[in-house]
Amino acid sequence: MDSLAIILQQLVNGLTLGSVYGLIAIGYTMVYGIIGMINFAHGDLYMVSAYLTAIFLALLSFFGIDSLPVVLFLTLLGTMAITGVYGWVIERVAYRPLRNSTRLAPLISAIGISFVLQEYVRINQGSNDQGIPALLFGAVRVPVGNDFFQITYSQILIIVVSLLGMGLLTYVIQKTELGRQCRATQMDRKMSGILGIHTDRIISTVFVIGAAMGAVAGVLVTLNYGSFNFSSGFIIGIKAFTAAVLGGIGSLPGAMLGGIVLGMAESLFSGLVNTDYKDVFAFGLLVTVMIFKPSGLLGKPAVEKV
């Protein structure tokens, strides 16, 4: 095989994977930006959304709805909505009471929630892998020399929907009143509160947005790969967090950029070096970034105020 074709193929795969990381990373980065907490359960919300995707698909086919665009649209919308409610409820129940607690408390609570989500799904849905039928077939082939690389339709769907989602979110954050309040709360929560912003409501909104973006990733990945189980959220969660750190935690464009860089790097590594160690590579990258550039690619180095 032509090695250029291999590289291009891996870049396409990396872009797909990276868009997904970016979508999930948004949840980490926004929550971290606004309350300085790593929402450890975020990866598990992604997992829940994968189950919800399968459930919606099964329900829709049960009711005989089989027009593909309608099915995809309803599944995406429904999954985003329900996962968003999950995000809201979790923040309300497990994190908000800890606003003024010790520094470790929210993090430990989040780990607890991560356990609860995984076990809740395992106990109710079983521990076997679940799957959905393939819905999108076919691919675009691009010739390179006397070889080719391909982009499947579901990859195109992932990339397009991710970009749309990110674009929409960027618009909301940059241009709308809600976005302005989010940014203000991120900069100085106390002052924003004094100026009449309902900071608790803004924080809830951020959790809902993060969860919904994770759900978009869940739907897209499930459509593409088809199978998942109750622990699917763990590794991808850490990877997405890596993407958030890589891009500069707290920065929205950073999350997207970090996701794509990580996805590409990981794909190239597994295509050209070794597949077994691709997770080791990703975690190694995380540790390296944290050590040498903790503020990430787009983050601003902050001086801790004394």
């Binding site: 086919s61 497990a94 993090l107 609570s109 356990f115």
Partner: protein, 431 residues
């Protein structure tokens, strides 16, 4: 009492519960289709509706508010300054408890001995992590990596270097601590929460390497580990060259339980050491420095304390204890494989520390015993145990983030006896 408001509130909660529990609990995937299970959704939604309604009604009354206010106080945590050297009933009982634990294995079967060994190993792990999380306030989510390093230290050490249990014990501790140092040194100077994720990544790296580097670690098949020996006496029916079997030396019948009793006693001694160590550490400058860093890092730095090396010492101490625990684990089973060192293990140890109450020694011991023994006693429970641990972790953080037990701090007097004066003054005032 405001019934209408409470009802509305409970109604909203019920709707949210329906959205959250409805799909996952009510629609169980079965291949590409599904089975409905409406009753269990109805039950849980009902519970939430009634629970929320009753809760809202209660807090709308004065008495109810007072009741819940107690928890608010508990959340702040209580600290008491007491005279040093006062022994609690528990402290007095410790020698007896230890003695009872030491003779216990002679009365129970092999099965229970192995379970207790495991429980004690978890006590060790809990005590080790408690130094890191409870005392120094560093969230280490990759603690299991050091446990793995200890266990594989024995297994691979004996395979490649020919070392036995007794050499492996200190060597694994040092090896684990060195890994801790290499990882911790760059990471510990960063913002606290990052440590959690970096250690998590490190834990996964170690597990993946153990899994994939088959040429060295034998991959998922695992590696065998030598059992512990007593002054060159082996606990086997027939010993290897140059060794004598324990039963021949003492001229008793061979009994495979002996081996487990021996390890049981060794782990018990290790636990006793670890308890003693923890007891002393909090009274030493280093333990004080850990607590100080947990409380206020800025102040520490302004006082000439190198926060990186102080945190590192806690991190390494915890790692070393985990390494020792790993050696015991490998020696107990005579075999290790990567599956024993997944993230869930780290989380379990963290659960022990959190449920025991961060920083509390007694709490950790009790929590470790419960966490390991309850699933054994109640088989049905083991299906739900991680769910319950997760829920308890959240609840603990909400109602008692500093642990269940009142923290005691020692009163200290000057050589001239200052410091005691206040006590008498207060006493007089009360009289």
């Amino acid at each position: 009492m405001n019934i209408k408001h409470s009802f509305l509130d409970a109604f909203v909660a019920a709707i949210l519960a329906t959205i959250v529990f409805g799909p996952i609990m009510g629609i169980v995937l079965d291949g590409y289709s599904f089975n409905l299970d409406v009753p269990r959704v109805a039950i849980i939604v009902g519970i939430i509706f009634v629970g929320r309604f009753v809760f809202q009604l209660t807090i709308s009354t004065q008495g109810g508010r007072d009741f819940f206010q107690q928890f608010e106080k508990g959340r702040a945590g209580s600290i008491e300054v007491t005279d040093p050297g006062i022994k609690t009933v528990l402290a007095k009982a410790i020698p007896f408890i230890m003695l009872a634990a030491a003779i216990l294995p002679f009365f129970i079967g092999k099965y229970w001995i192995t379970i207790l060994i495991l429980a004690y190993i978890y006590i060790l792990l809990g005590l080790g992590l408690n130094i890191v999380v409870g005392l120094a306030g560093l969230l280490d989510l990759g603690f299991v990596a050091f446990y793995a390093i200890g266990a594989y230290g024995l297994a691979l050490g004996s395979e490649y270097l020919g070392i036995g249990f007794w050499i492996a014990l200190p060597m694994s501790a040092i090896l684990a601590a060195s890994f801790g140092a290499i990882l911790g040194f760059p990471v510990l100077r960063m913002h606290g929460d990052y440590l959690a994720i970096v250690t998590l990544g490190f834990g996964e790296i170690i597990r993946l390497v153990l899994n994939n580097w088959s040429a060295f670690t034998h991959g998922p098949n695992g590696a065998s580990a030598p059992p512990a020996t007593l002054f060159n006496l082996e606990f086997k029916r027939t010993a290897a060259e140059g060794y004598t079997p324990f039963h021949e030396f003492f001229n008793i019948d061979y009994n495979s339980t002996h081996r487990y009793i021996f390890i049981y006693l060794l782990v018990l001694i290790a636990v006793a050491f670890a308890l003693r160590l923890k007891h002393r550490l909090v009274k030493m400058p280093i333990g004080r420095a850990w607590e100080a860093l947990r409380e206020n890092e800025i102040a520490c730095r302004s006082l000439g304390m190198n926060h990186v090396t102080i945190k590192l010492s806690a991190f390494m101490m915890g790692a070393a204890i985990a390494g020792v625990a790993g050696v015991f684990f490998a020696a107990k089973d005579g075999f290790v494989n990567p599956a024993s060192f997944s993230f869930i293990e780290s989380a379990l140890i963290l659960a022990i520390v959190v449920l025991g109450g961060l920083g509390s020694t007694v709490g950790v011991v009790i929590a470790a015993l419960l966490v390991i023994l309850i699933p054994e006693v109640m088989r049905e429970f083991s299906e739900y145990r991680y769910l319950v641990f997760g829920l308890l972790m959240v609840i603990m953080m909400i109602i008692r983030p500093r642990g269940l037990i009142t923290i005691k701090r020692d009163r200290k007097f000057s050589t001239k006896g200052e410091g005691a004066v206040v006590e008498t003054k207060q006493g007089e005032g009360a009289a």
